[in-house]
């Protein structure tokens, strides 16, 4: 069996995004806003656009981004529709996101101070152990050749294994762009469709979320309107007239 860590590959992906919190914080800070529901709602579209336009987010990362994207949509709905009553759990979700952002912001700031300390070149050095001492042959009493073999096998077993997840390619996941195009086309054809229909050929949860995000995107651009009569009821999507 071989153990291969595709470190450079993995690394470059991590480098580009640094995760959804990083992106969200940058968007808010760029607009010089505080972390509030209003500011989060304000940058929600930019966040979603980033997901839409950026190629090559690994499926693992994409799920993280989408999860935050979903929360942003919730926040946005709440800000746009003040009468919308959110579940207690959803409110807690929003509070949690804000707290996580504040927390991350503090560490992003402090890491700059840590960097300043690290680069100022005033450091402590320690004495190399055993410097000035002469080598004395002092073998351990109870070690035999077999122990070395065992120790090495133990080391080799602990090597990081191939990340299976990374093998899945972005192609497995329908892009948001494609989904938006699909919904637009079928709407033009039929003028009205349901969410179930829109999400009919999705293969997994991520795709369902993408479909939902895509619909909301269309709502934002006033391409479609949506209607839901009962809670948990079917969502009807209509082309705006």
């Amino acid at each position: 069996m071989s153990y291969i860590v595709k470190a450079s590959h993995y690394q470059s992906q991590e480098k580009i995004f640094e995760g959804p919190l990083d992106l969200l914080l940058e968007l808010i800070e760029k607009e010089k806003l505080d972390i509030t529901e209003v500011s989060l709602a304000q940058v929600a579209n930019q966040f979603l656009e980033y997901l839409e336009t950026t190629q090559g987010i690994s499926p693992e990362n994409l799920a993280d981004f989408l999860l935050i994207g979903g929360k942003l949509i919730l926040i946005k709905s709440k800000v746009i529709l003040p009468m919308l009553e959110l579940e207690k759990e959803e409110e807690e979700d929003i509070e949690e996101l804000k707290a996580r952002l504040r927390e991350y912001q503090r560490f992003k700031e402090i890491s700059k101070e840590i960097k300043a300390l690290a680069v100022r070149k005033e450091m402590f050095f320690s004495k190399q152990s055993y410097s000035g001492m002469r080598t004395v042959f002092c073998p351990p009493k109870n070690v035999i050749a077999f122990d070395l073999k065992e120790a090495l096998e133990n080391v080799l077993n602990k090597l990081p294994k191939v990340e299976n997840l990374a093998k899945r390619t972005i192609k497995d996941v329908v892009s948001m762009k494609d989904k938006i195009k699909y919904i637009k086309e079928s709407l033009t054809r039929r003028m009205e469709m349901t969410f179930t229909e829109a999400a009919s050929d999705t293969k997994n949860k991520i795709e369902v979320i993408i479909t939902f995000l895509a619909i909301l995107e269309l709502v934002r651009k006033s391409t479609v309107t949506i209607e839901q009569n009962d809670m948990f009821g079917e969502i009807k999507i209509k082309k705006s007239s």
Binding site: A7, Y10, Q11, E14, K15, F17, E18, G19, P20, L21, D22, E60, N61, D64, I68, E92, E95, E96, A99, R100, R102, E103, Y104, R106, F107, K108, I110, S111, K112, E113, I114, K115, L117, A118, V119, R120, K121, E122, M123, F124, F125, S126, K127, Q128, S129, Y130, S131, P160
Partner: protein, 197 residues
């Protein structure tokens, strides 16, 4: 005074960080006396402004050179300039420094991304070390190393900028703010904080 002198000798000979327990074993002094002597030494060295310093972290103590002389030490050691730390590495280091010992999952919760590669890199560079998680045998807890303190020229973690402030979790502060809005809620939030961190 004698105990301080012995600790000084041992720190010099070892070069590496020495555990208080190990000093107890060698000297047969009480651990609390060793601790207070180490603290006294650290204070004296720092006040005397001589060429040496004592740094203390957790249960270990190490003798190092004064930061202001680092230019000459580098010249003597012909030390290779190490690669700069990336933003990811600095963020992970900060989280570990202020919140350690900390599980990988908690670091990832704060940063919102997978940190396994960065942590590995920091361990290889010797800036972060790991210990077994007492609550989960399969997992580790990460904390900063003496080499991290040495690199920054900081004698103890408490001397890091805004240490007390950053040590406290953001979510817990939130609980304080909402305390007036009812006990039930804040209890729930408190519970949540524990789960999330």
């Amino acid at each position: 005074m004698k105990i301080e002198s012995i600790i000084e000798s041992l720190l010099f000979i070892s070069g590496e960080p020495m555990n208080f327990k190990r000093l107890v074993k060698i000297t047969s002094f009480k651990e609390k006396d060793i601790k207070s002597s180490a603290d006294k030494l650290a204070k004296r060295y720092s006040e005397q402004c001589n060429g040496l310093r004592i740094i203390i972290k957790d249960t270990k103590v190490q003798m190092v050179t004064a930061a202001e002389n680092s230019e000459f030490i580098e010249k003597f050691l012909k030390a290779d300039i190490e690669g700069e730390l990336s933003r990811a590495a600095l963020e992970v280091l900060s989280v570990v420094a202020y919140r350690g010992p900390i599980a990988r999952s908690e670091i990832e919760e704060i940063r919102g991304v997978n940190c396994s590669f960065t942590l590995r890199h920091l361990m290889i560079r010797g800036l972060v070390e790991r210990i077994n998680n007492p609550k989960d045998a399969r997992a580790y807890l990460y904390k900063i190393s003496f080499d991290f303190l040495k690199k920054l020229g900081v004698e103890k973690v408490e001397d890091l900028p805004k240490f007390e402030e950053l040590r406290k979790k953001e979510l817990l502060q939130k609980v304080d703010e909402t305390e007036s809005s009812g006990n039930d809620d804040s209890k729930k939030e408190n519970k949540k904080v524990v789960e999330n961190n």
